[in-house]
């Protein structure tokens, strides 16, 4: 709560970014109420119509209302983004804290694995993994979550190492507090700033990665869709016949990614000016 007040007071732009994100999140949550039409209500007699009072954002190649599609896209984009970023954060915390707090051989083995994982381009790994498990919402969330979780564990780890070095943990250990207790009481709160910033920026990254995968044909299966899917699919195919098909999803995607990044930067400024090198 305190953070929120500081954000609004000190970083109005960041707060605006947050507000924009919340706005799109609400759109995603209330899609069912907001969308004038269903997800896949085709009507070939109204195909490729430009925006009009009947269809505020026009219609696509199957006569589906683009506004509704963009709203449903928001829903899935947001679900994927939040769940995957959430999972990524949990994974980062788990790996980072275990590795950083316990140190020693555990740390060594885990870190070598993380090293090995991180040398592979995320997108390339995703291509391979999606080819194995097939495209789908659950798969997408788990894969992106693991991918960014493992990559992000580095930052949590270094924060945890710093905490460990600090006196009060030494003190807690010396009076015989159990490890789990120490972790929860002392380490976790101290890595929270890193975690919060990580979470926000991951949201943007996940949305972009999903778009990249859609471009390569490995996105969410039709007729469901995401902004990335709309942009790389009909957006690109029909860019000559119906430029409006690309406009709305493209703008939404860019605005949200932009907004969460601005928010992330503001949080970073507020929470941890020393966090360097993190994406």
């Amino acid at each position: 709560m305190d953070l929120l007040v500081r954000l609004v007071r000190d970083k109005p732009l960041g707060a605006a970014g947050g507000a924009v994100f919340v706005f799109f999140l609400l759109c995603g949550i209330f899609t069912g109420v907001l969308a004038p039409q269903g997800l896949n209500e085709t009507d070939l007699y109204h195909r490729l119509e430009s925006p009009s009072p009947d269809f505020l954002l026009g219609t696509d190649h199957l006569g589906r209302d683009v506004l509704s599609r963009v709203l449903y896209g928001a829903q899935i984009s947001m679900i994927v983004a939040l769940l995957a970023a959430g999972l990524a954060t949990v994974v980062s915390i788990a790996i980072g804290i275990v590795s950083g707090y316990f140190g020693g051989r555990t740390d060594l083995i885990i870190q070598r694995f993380v090293d090995a994982w991180m040398v592979f381009p995320g997108l390339v790994l995703l291509i391979v993994v999606i080819s194995i498990v097939g495209a789908g919402l659950t798969q997408m969330v788990i894969i992106l979550g693991l991918q960014y979780g493992i990559a992000g564990s580095r930052m949590v780890r270094s924060a945890a190492v710093t905490v460990r070095e600090q006196m009060y943990v030494h003190a807690a250990q010396s009076i015989g507090a159990r490890s789990l207790h120490t972790l929860v009481r002392h380490v976790l709160p101290n890595v929270m700033p890193v975690v919060i910033v990580l979470f926000t920026t991951r949201i943007g990254l996940v949305i972009l990665s999903e778009a990249g995968l859609s471009f390569l044909g490995l996105g969410i299966p039709p007729p469901a869709t995401t902004w990335g899917g709309l942009l790389s699919g009909t957006g690109r195919t029909y860019m000559y016949l119906g430029p409006w098909l690309a406009l709305a999803p493209g703008l939404c995607l860019t605005i949200v990614v932009f907004a969460v990044n601005v928010l992330g930067d503001a949080l970073r400024d507020l929470l941890d000016p020393r966090m360097r090198g993190s994406q």
Binding site: T42, Y45, R236
Partner: protein, 562 residues
């Protein structure tokens, strides 16, 4: 040059060339031809014919020659009857000997092929010296193809033996007549004649692709470009305006592999491509508007599109269910509105160019025509009769590699939804998708395209028990026998009758949700001469066509391209 002047010059040239279109213009040698072929997104998969990968014949078809090829002098461009756009079918009258100088049936089952003399394999350092092609090479090729574990089973079962009578005479002894004899080892996918020296080198390596054809492969970057250079000692000639000319006319020929549709259209628009053979209807108007100089031809896709329904599985083992789903889908609406008219309602399993085998829908029995009508109420009723009053849910795979399928599938989902049937779509990338079918792990639904190949193969591969490309898993000993009978029939009218009977049987059985067959477009710049959008001079083999066209380099320059 000043833009205005340039466009004036273009106008002048255009009117001039229109007058000269009928072949009186003397051809020019030289220049490089850049083509986006029909298969522009796909790189060469294999350079070895014995891999039995269909696309090899496309990529090696300018290098390896075959016993037979299309008689391009009978093309529409030259006032003949044939457009030469079908995938892998040449009517007997459109056939000419390529390596074969002549052929003759000595007995009902003995085919004697005389090879042309003086046809030379080109010199390939490290592999072979230039030498004449002889009957032994034909034998070697046949044995090599026949021994490959990747061979289509039964493909050469009609052949008893292939022997040589002398260096330029090959004798085929058949066990039984096969109406595809000319296709299977004459102008088909797997009949490019390779030199015996191939046995001593790695046949997969593109550097070892060496033949007698008009071009030689000189540069290959997988997934990017294949460049062929002119074979200066090529034997064949092209007759233009009554005069004979050495071919090929162009110095270099490049197949461009470009994965992205936006990029390949740009490449055409900026003159980086001279010819783009496969363009979707939906960008045609835009291209005509932004690039009015282009010349165009239209061709009916050589692959049928459908949702296969596995007949060995519930609920599609019931014909009422399969027919109901056909009634649920409004094919005519798809033709008129989705394709904007750029499609045929009925273009598979017979292609409209398969004359005389193609029979229009209007001539079909009423029960066949019914499948192409739209009647959701009747569909629901049939589903109820079959025991699905509330519909059902089934999974269907679709390949993400086909943008047209990806665009179309939500529409099918929506049609089926209206009769209470839910189709769950599983998009997959090409290799996974294909192997689902070839290992028979697909379905119950499977959204795919299947090539027509030729009139008899189209039926054989889709219907014959256990064939790989029989996605509905149709199984019937009587029909298998009928297919044999079709292939054994020498008399063409009789064969035509059997083909038509089988088509009616197949369509009426509704193994698939039948969908329209789309038209595609080819576009080329006006400086490409002696060309009118011909696509294949054999089985997906455009090489001989490219060897005969020439580039008006002055015109290209005047139009502002270098």
């Amino acid at each position: 040059m000043n833009r205005k002047l340039a466009s004036l010059a273009v106008v002048g040239l255009l009117s001039f060339s229109a007058a000269a279109e009928n072949g009186n213009e003397p051809p020019q040698y030289g220049g490089a031809l850049n083509v986006g072929t029909v298969y522009w997104p796909n790189s060469a998969l294999s350079w070895d014919n014995a891999d039995w990968a269909w696309k090899s014949n496309h990529d090696t078809g300018a290098i390896y020659e075959q016993l037979f090829a299309a008689d391009l002098s009978k093309s529409e461009k030259n006032g003949g009857p044939y457009p030469f756009r079908a995938e892998a079918w040449l009517p007997e009258d459109a056939l000419r000997g390529e390596l074969a100088e002549s052929w003759e049936w000595e007995g009902p089952l003995t085919l004697v092929v005389k090879l042309r003399r003086g046809i030379m394999f080109t010199d390939k350092p490290g592999m072979m010296k230039a030498r004449e092609l002889v009957a032994d090479d034909v034998l070697f090729t046949f044995e090599r193809q026949d021994a490959s574990p990747k061979k289509i089973a039964g493909y050469f079962d009609h052949i008893e033996s292939v022997t040589q009578r002398d260096d330029h005479t090959v004798v085929f002894e058949l066990k039984e007549f096969n109406s595809e004899w000319a296709y299977r080892f004459g102008y088909g996918y797997y009949s490019g004649i390779v030199p015996r020296e191939l046995a001593q080198v790695d046949p997969k390596d593109w550097r070892n692709v060496n033949g007698t054809g008009p071009f030689q492969l000189t540069r290959y970057i997988q997934g990017n470009i294949q460049t062929y250079s002119r074979n200066p000692s090529y034997w064949d000639r092209e007759t233009l305006g009554g005069k004979q000319y050495e071919i090929p006319f162009v110095d270099a020929l490049s197949y461009r592999v470009i994965k992205d549709e936006a990029t390949i259209l740009t490449a055409l628009r900026t003159g980086k491509l001279d010819i783009l053979e496969s363009i979707r209807w939906l960008v045609v108007d835009h291209l005509k508007e932004t690039t009015p100089e282009l010349k165009w031809s239209r061709w009916l896709s050589n692959a049928g599109t459908f949702v296969a329904m596995r007949m060995d599985m519930e609920p599609f083992d019931d014909i009422r269910v399969r027919r109901a789903l056909n009634l649920a889908v409004n094919q005519q609406e798809i033709v008129d509105l989705y394709y904007g008219g750029h499609a045929e309602l009925f273009g598979y399993p017979m292609h409209t160019e398969f004359v005389p085998y193609y029979q229009p829908l209007e001539e079909m029995p009423a029960s066949v025509q019914e499948l192409f009508s739209h009647d959701p109420d009747r569909a629901k009723q049939m589903l109820a009769e079959a025991g699905f009053p509330d519909g059902f849910t089934f999974k269907a795979q679709v390949c993400t590699c086909n943008p047209d399928h990806m665009d179309l599938i939500p529409l099918i989902v929506s049609y089926l939804d209206k009769v209470g049937v839910t189709m769950e779509v599983e998009p997959m990338e090409y290799a996974s998708f294909l192997s689902m079918m070839t290992t028979k792990n697909h379905g119950p639904g499977y959204f795919m395209s299947n090539g027509h190949t030729n009139p008899t193969t189209s039926l054989r591969k889709s219907l014959f028990t256990d064939q790989q490309w029989n996605p509905a898993l149709h199984k019937s000993p009587e029909i298998d026998e009928k297919i044999f009978q079709m292939l054994r029939t020498r008399d063409e009218p009789e064969r035509d009758r059997i083909v038509k009977e089988l088509v009616v049987y197949m369509v009426d059985l509704a193994p698939y949700i039948w969908l329209p067959t789309r038209y595609l477009y080819s576009a080329w710049w006006p400086w490409v001469k002696n060309y009118n959008g011909e696509l294949r001079a054999g089985a997906v083999r455009p090489g001989p066509i490219y060897a005969r066209l020439w580039i008006d380099q002055e015109m290209k320059l005047e139009m502002g391209f270098d």
